[in-house]
């Protein structure tokens, strides 16, 4: 296609980002995988490598040792952490969709001159610190926090609410922090829908609600799909939200990995946890990438 950017110049443009990502993104995964097959040790760094170039690849393969993996699959704590992360991520993705859809719909139908401002207002919280936004929710949700005070003043409750340190708080945290990721793709696909289609549906006698389900919603599905992936994938491995808002009953794999690494200093086991998490996420990540590919080609 671009015949003018042949040769050396073209190669330089590709090389810098390509090499960077190979060294700092791809190779590290191989190191994680290698380490997940090592034994833990009390040393610095705290593991015994089971492979070194001096012994050669043959010796390495003969020594391959999957004990970290058998340990993870044998221990219900880890299996439950994976399952409960998937469950929490799925439920909070659905809740995020419920909150985001009417907002994105309202934005797409708002007067044209408002739209850039509304977009900016959605993005603005995303630019403010994630940690600080989670911290703000601690002040709201804790038993003597704003929510309890507010509801007690209204006389709706007489006892402090117990939301802090529960899984409900984690849902609220995820919905809140990932909302922009859901709204933006939804808005993009809703905004593209030609209003004439809806008018046609109504002219043909369709009630607004039916027109929505049969025309608008199906046309917005690419946005729904992209938004759900953008929320679901990072939510599965989330660490900060369950750590600050969740209690001891909230089991999530990102937090387990963090504890294994920083508290137990078991680097090989943490690596094995990461490898399995990556395998669990492969399908949604590939789906996400395909979606991006389609969008890129459609945009040309």
């Amino acid at each position: 296609m671009s015949t003018k950017t042949h040769g050396l110049g073209r190669w330089y443009v590709i090389a810098a980002p390509y090499l960077w990502l190979l060294i700092f993104f791809l190779i590290p995964f191989f190191i994680v995988f290698k380490l997940s097959l090592s034994d833990v040790a009390t040393a610095i760094p705290p593991y015994v490598p089971t492979f070194s170039w001096s012994t050669g690849i043959g010796a390495f393969i003969s020594q391959l040792d999957f004990e970290n993996y058998t340990f993870i699959f044998g221990d219900p704590l880890y299996v439950n952490a994976y399952l409960s992360s998937l469950k929490i991520a799925a439920i909070s993705t659905f809740l995020t969709l419920l909150v985001a859809y009417p907002m994105a719909y309202g934005m797409a139908r708002a007067p044209r001159s408002w739209q850039p401002t509304l977009m900016m207002l959605v993005i603005l919280p995303f630019w403010t610190s994630f940690l600080i936004r989670i911290y703000a929710w601690i002040a709201i949700l804790k038993p003597e926090g704003f929510l309890t005070m507010f509801l007690m003043k209204l006389g709706l409750i007489s006892e402090p609410l117990q939301i802090m340190n529960t899984t409900t708080a984690v849902y609220i945290g995820i919905v809140y922090s990932y909302l922009p990721f859901m709204i933006l793709p939804l808005y993009a696909s809703l905004e593209k829908i030609n209003p004439a289609l809806l008018e046609a549906a109504q002219d043909l006698g369709s009630r607004p609600w039916r027109a929505f389900w049969q025309v608008t919603f199906p046309l917005s599905l690419p946005g729904v799909f992209a938004g759900c992936l953008l929320v679901f994938i990072p939510a599965v491995g989330e660490f900060v939200i369950p750590d600050l808002l969740g209690g001891s009953d909230t089991l999530m794999i990102g937090k387990t990995l963090w504890n294994e690494f920083f508290n137990n200093r078991d680097w090989p086991l943490a690596s094995a946890v990461a490898v399995i998490l990556l395998l669990v996420l492969t399908i949604p990540i590939v789906l996400f990438q395909r979606q991006q590919q389609i969008e890129r080609e459609g945009g040309r």
């Binding site: 994680v32 990072p234 998490l277």
Partner: protein
């Protein structure tokens, strides 16, 4: 189309934005609270700001964070712009699928995995962990966001403008700096701002990539939040929110002025021919 903008739409937007902004507003309001209790209002005071100014550890952490942010955002924007050009303009090349995979995967990859893998790389390379390893880690994950932002803009504009420049004898490098870059400049600026904010904000990846020497502001805030809430955090949060808001308003002002100017020039051109 605006006849569909009903009370339903207005309500959903209002409630949505209330949900997004009330937590942030409460934080800002209570940063000026006299009381140490975070939810009890005891009068206006800026004492948490002054006690913040005396907190040397926080100031050191802020300084590390800003240096990492400036450096990593700049390198990430350059690499991200090159990556965007590769994705949109270079055409097919070997390993393209892998390349676009590596651009998009970090956007959704859980931070704990990116952090752990980078740490193991630094250990394997024998690098001393601290300022430089945090910077390398931040460049890596923010360049992918920068690439996506610039790529969106590159797709939008007409390639024939570049082709015309090259047909008139401009070298590819000249074309890039005199034609392409001025057109994509707003997106390059927002890519830099986004990289910078993401770097300022990052807790998980920095915690893995750092050594005993370098503590970033989010790491400091995180440990204080875990120890118990102190009103100083409200104050520092408000300052950060203020910086980001001012930065974004400036950026949108600059972008708006640029699009206005482009619009004026377009009109003038049409007026001249018509």
């Amino acid at each position: 189309m605006n006849k569909n903008f009903s009370w339903f739409n207005l309500t959903s937007i209002t409630f949505g934005f209330a949900f997004l902004y009330i937590p942030i507003l409460l934080l800002v309001i209570f940063s000026f609270n006299e009381s140490k209790l975070v939810t009890v209002w005891a009068g206006f005071s800026t004492k948490w700001y002054s006690s913040l100014m005396q907190n040397q550890a926080l100031k050191d952490a802020a300084w590390v964070t800003i240096r990492v942010g400036l450096l990593s955002a700049t390198v990430a924007t350059i690499l991200g712009t090159l990556a965007a050009i590769t994705l949109v303009r270079v055409g097919r090349f070997r390993g393209q699928t892998l390349f676009s995979g590596m651009i998009f995967a970090p956007l959704v990859m859980p931070e704990v995995i990116i952090g752990l893998s980078l740490l193991l790389l630094f250990v394997a390379m024998g690098l001393d962990r601290g300022f430089w390893t945090i910077t390398l880690a931040h460049i890596t994950f923010t360049m992918c966001y920068a690439a996506v932002v610039v790529q969106a803009r590159l797709q939008d504009f007409d390639k024939s403008v570049e082709e015309a420049a090259m047909d008139l004898g401009a070298t590819p490098i000249n074309t890039f700096f005199q034609v392409t870059l001025p057109i994509i400049a707003p997106s390059v600026i927002s890519a830099w701002l986004l990289s910078f904010t993401l770097s300022l904000d990052d807790l998980v990846i920095s915690s893995f990539a750092t050594g005993p020497g370098a503590t970033t502001l989010p790491m400091k805030i995180y440990s204080q939040v875990r120890l118990g809430v102190t009103p100083e955090i409200n104050a520092i949060s408000t300052i950060l929110i203020g910086i980001v808001t001012v930065g974004l308003l400036l950026a949108s002002f600059v972008t708006k002025r640029q699009t206005d100017r482009a619009e004026r020039e377009r009109r003038k051109a049409f007026g001249a021919t018509g």
